[in-house]
Amino acid sequence: MLIAAASPTPTPVSVPGAGIFSSPLLLSLTIWVPVALAIAIATMPNPRGRYDVLMKQIAFFTNFGLLFILFIAYNQFQTFLPTMQYEEKVPWLQAIGVTYHLGVDGPGMVMLILSALIGIASVLASLGIRERVRSYFCLLLLTQASVNGAIVARDMFVLVLFWAAASIPLALLVLGWGGPRRHPAAWRLLGYWGLGTGALLVGTMALYAATGGASFDMDVLLKTAISPRVQVAVGLLMIVAAATRLPLFPLHGWARDVYGEAPIGVAVIVAGTASRLGAYLLLRTLVAAEPAAAHLLAPLLAALAALTVGYAALVALRASDLRHAAAYLALIPGGITAFALAALSPLAIAGAVLSFFAGGLAAALIVGVCATLSDRAQSRSLQVLSGLAPRMPVLTWLLVIAGLALLGVPLLATFTSELMTFFGSFKTQPIGAFAVAAGLGVAAVALAVLFRRVLFGSPNPDAPGVSDASLGETWYMALLAGGLLWVGVFPSGPTLPGTGTPLFDPGLVNVMAAGISDIASPYAGTGP
């Protein structure tokens, strides 16, 4: 498995269906189609909620259509091309050197596929929304558009634009449809993400000034040699920006309230993709662009990652609220991704990219399952919830899969990513690797305690009535679990037996390899 993951198919693969779709505006479609349909939803007449169902259908089919288009793009992706693909470049604010520049490489494509999957899961998880349906789905589509925009941005201005834009609809979604403590949750989200946006903006401006103030294009900004002092300053700012999103200890203050109070669909999108942008930013602006600063700051990043995993596991162990426990457990994949990036070895960087996908799905799944379970059990208190497995078989299975995914057990995508991370980091960050592994051990204990108490303990006769997941809820969680299983079982994609010809999936590991060799080349001498 590890060999398959670490060594992508040695020759470019051709997949049936490749070449049937081509658009020079492919990446723009992933941003502007959701925006256009959000505007359509916002402006269409809806007397007395008559078209609420139609709005949900529009949101679903928008995401479904995007996933379909992206799946074709994923199949057509040139897996061994080190450059950006599907590029779009149009001059924008020429006076200050801004271009509307979009493009994806392997890690970007992995993030886009993740975003599309999470998008569908988020809409399916939101089918139960009854109040102000128009506003909800309009804001949800705007959030998805912002996330997609931040993923495909190849100009720092465009990145800042979409990075910052995501926080407003998300805060409004929490404020409007969240639980009883939605107000502090939304303000914390705005505060922490605002701090992150500020750090990103100052870092961007520092890079802009250091590179001569001619362009915000990443090809210029991140590839021009700058002094180590500026690199370190910018690197620190980028770590702050990433730590507010991922989140990493001690800038995780929003996570408990937001994951605990947000409606399920919103919690899924925050845990699944919006927060992964933090790691993606680190990969782009620190690891890929500033090797000197990355080497200097790697111990700091590794320490933050280890603290995040350990702290999250310990607090989850002591939690008395199921959604809060899930919120802390959802921090663990982010910590592991950050640790993989801190390891600065080619294998660990590949592990980090795979963990964007695997960690995003695992975090979304644990947050989603626990929120759905709380809803269905009419309580989120761990003093009340007990012995639910016989009465909630579907949710039990999904919660077990989510827990195992967090721990990285074989057959799940997180296993491959964590294995690559640890194998790639034991040489460069041995203490950090031990600390993260110890944190995972505590997380395993926390999950075992949680399972024993909530699922397999003796039933609580005083607890309110419970019911298992509905069809829509089962679908969204099964989609997330299915993604984890699929990539876990077929990291290089399924092939025709005996031929090596890929069937319909070139393999996530093959796709993500495009671009990683370039990113990892400064660190080629380190690690395995």
């Binding site: 916002a42 402006t43 001059p91 924008w92 604010l93 020429q94 006076a95 200050i96 102000r132 506003s135 201005f157 800042v160 634009l161 979409f162 910052a164 834009a165 926080s167 407003i168 805060a171 409004l172 404020l175 409007g176 939304a186 303000w187 705005l190 505060g191 605002g194 701090l195 946006t197 500020g198 903006l201 100052v202 401006m205 520092a206 802009y208 000034a209 103030g213 915000f216």
Partner: protein
């Protein structure tokens, strides 16, 4: 074409004079009154079209007192667009007088136009005072007490500006802005120059309602009619900012006489505006503080004293003028505080969208006009190494966005109040105001996406002021 350059000014003044006379002499029949705002908005748009067509012609008028260049073209176009949009979106049932309500914004716009094309200190001062006087008249229609306070404070500001300009003239030996710049190239920064500049900047800070000098302007805007508030917060501040940009361009050979003071004012306005917006619960006060914060960004761009910075300030000023003038007009009556806006997203979707975009743009939220302007100013600050000011500006913007989220929550997420519990009525729906609200949304969104030509024109404007 050169003779057509002043046609927009002539149209604006003629329309204002006609409206004042018509109101006084009751020339307009009641049946025709409902069409009057639309007709005046069309006149303003016609003036804008002529400005865009003929305004590219460079020339001087009245012995150099007025100069038509790209700067004038940009500023005049922005203010004409702001006024036309404001006439279209305002709820005229909430205004005190139709004729004066239409005439005063036109006169204020004329003031900004005069300041924008001023060739010397006298025209600069005259333009600023004209805009400020129109604001006093608008406020006095509803709150004479606040108008008196505004008049007195404005008088002090005017005295500061006038004294400063007089000393500046005495120190440099000329009132012509181009000649002043040439003379200053061979001068050293002295106390005799620093003191008058200090006085002028202080006066302009009061006029532009920059924190902490907004003590009268903001209460006055809160007491005025919606259009009056837009005039105080938008057009008068735009006039002061226009004067500041032209003066800074003239003084740019000796930036040390103004940059430190301007830096402090900009920082206080950006952070203070955002913090005050977050602290207040009244939607119009919040809008006013957001405007104060954004005008701080305009001032921050001037600190750079390079073409890129001044161009970015001018670019942002365009976005500011439209959003700050139209914001209160879109909001309508806001006496009932935040609950008065509850459910506006359901009951008045077009106006709610327009108000949301106005506030978000003033807060600097992406992807709207204000964000693009603030980003351009930020880039200029980075180029000059002013990272401290940039960080404070970002802090102010984050606070502003958080404040705006509070109002958006009330508009879009709270359920509408029953009519009996509503302390003030929501804006009346008319075809013109709905159309105006949609057009305003398009303008605020398009300003960012079409920012390349707009910023290019702003760049030419800064270049026309002699900056390299």
């Amino acid at each position: 074409v050169k003779d057509l350059v002043l046609v927009p000014e002539a149209l604006v003044v003629a329309a204002a004079a006609f409206l004042l006379l018509a109101g006084r002499l009751a020339w307009i029949r009641p049946a025709a009154r409902r069409y009057l705002p639309g007709a005046v908005a069309v006149v303003a748009l016609f003036a804008l079209a002529i400005e865009l067509w003929a305004g590219a012609t460079v020339g001087t008028y009245f012995g150099g007192g007025l100069v038509q260049d790209r700067f004038a073209l940009f500023a005049k176009a922005a203010v004409l667009l702001a006024v036309a949009m404001a006439f279209a979106v305002v709820d005229w049932t909430a205004e005190d007088s139709l004729s004066i309500g239409l005439a005063m914004p036109l006169l204020a716009a004329f003031g900004v136009m005069v300041a924008a094309s001023a060739g010397d200190l006298v025209a600069l001062w005259a333009g600023l005072e004209l805009a400020a006087a129109a604001a006093v008249v608008m406020v006095s229609l509803r709150r004479p007490d606040l108008a008196l306070r505004l008049l007195v404070t404005g008088g002090v500001a005017s005295a500061l500006v006038l004294t400063g300009l007089a000393f500046l003239y005495a120190s440099v030996g000329t009132s012509d802005l181009t000649t002043m710049r040439e003379v200053l190239f061979s001068s050293m920064p002295t106390l005799a120059l620093a003191i008058p500049v200090f006085l002028v900047v202080s006066g302009l800070a009061v006029r532009a309602a920059l924190a902490p000098f907004q003590l009268v302007s903001i209460p006055a805007s809160l007491g005025a009619s919606p259009l009056g508030a837009g005039l105080v917060l938008g057009l008068v501040a735009a006039a002061a900012a226009t004067v500041a940009i032209k003066l800074v361009a003239a003084l740019s050979p000796i930036p040390s006489v103004y940059s430190s003071y301007l830096e402090v004012i900009a920082a206080a306005a950006m952070v203070g505006g955002g913090a005050a917006a977050l602290a207040t619960r009244s939607p119009r006060a919040r809008l006013a503080y957001l405007a104060a914060g954004q005008i701080g960004w305009v001032a921050a761009g001037l600190v750079t004293h390079y073409r890129a910075g001044l161009a970015a300030s001018l670019f942002l000023l365009g976005a500011f003028a439209v959003a700050a003038t139209c914001g209160p007009a879109v909001m309508g009556r806001a006496d009932g505080g935040e609950p008065a806006l509850a459910g506006m997203g359901v009951l008045r979707p077009a106006r709610a969208a327009a108000l949301a975009l106005a506030m978000l743009s003033l807060a600097g939220a992406p992807p709207l006009a204000g964000f693009f302007g603030e980003f351009a100013v930020g880039a200029a600050l980075a180029q000059t190494g002013s990272f401290g000011l940039l960080a404070l500006g970002i802090l102010g913007s984050v606070l502003s966005v958080a404040a705006t989220a509070g109002t958006l929550r009330v508009m879009y997420i709270q359920s509408p109040l029953e009519e009996a519990r509503r302390t003030s009525r929501l804006p009346v729906l008319t075809r013109l105001s709905s159309f105006g609200a949609v057009a305003f949304c398009v303008v605020i969104a398009a300003y960012g996406f079409l920012s390349s030509p707009i910023l290019g024109l702003a760049n030419q404007g800064a270049e026309a002021l002699g900056l390299r």
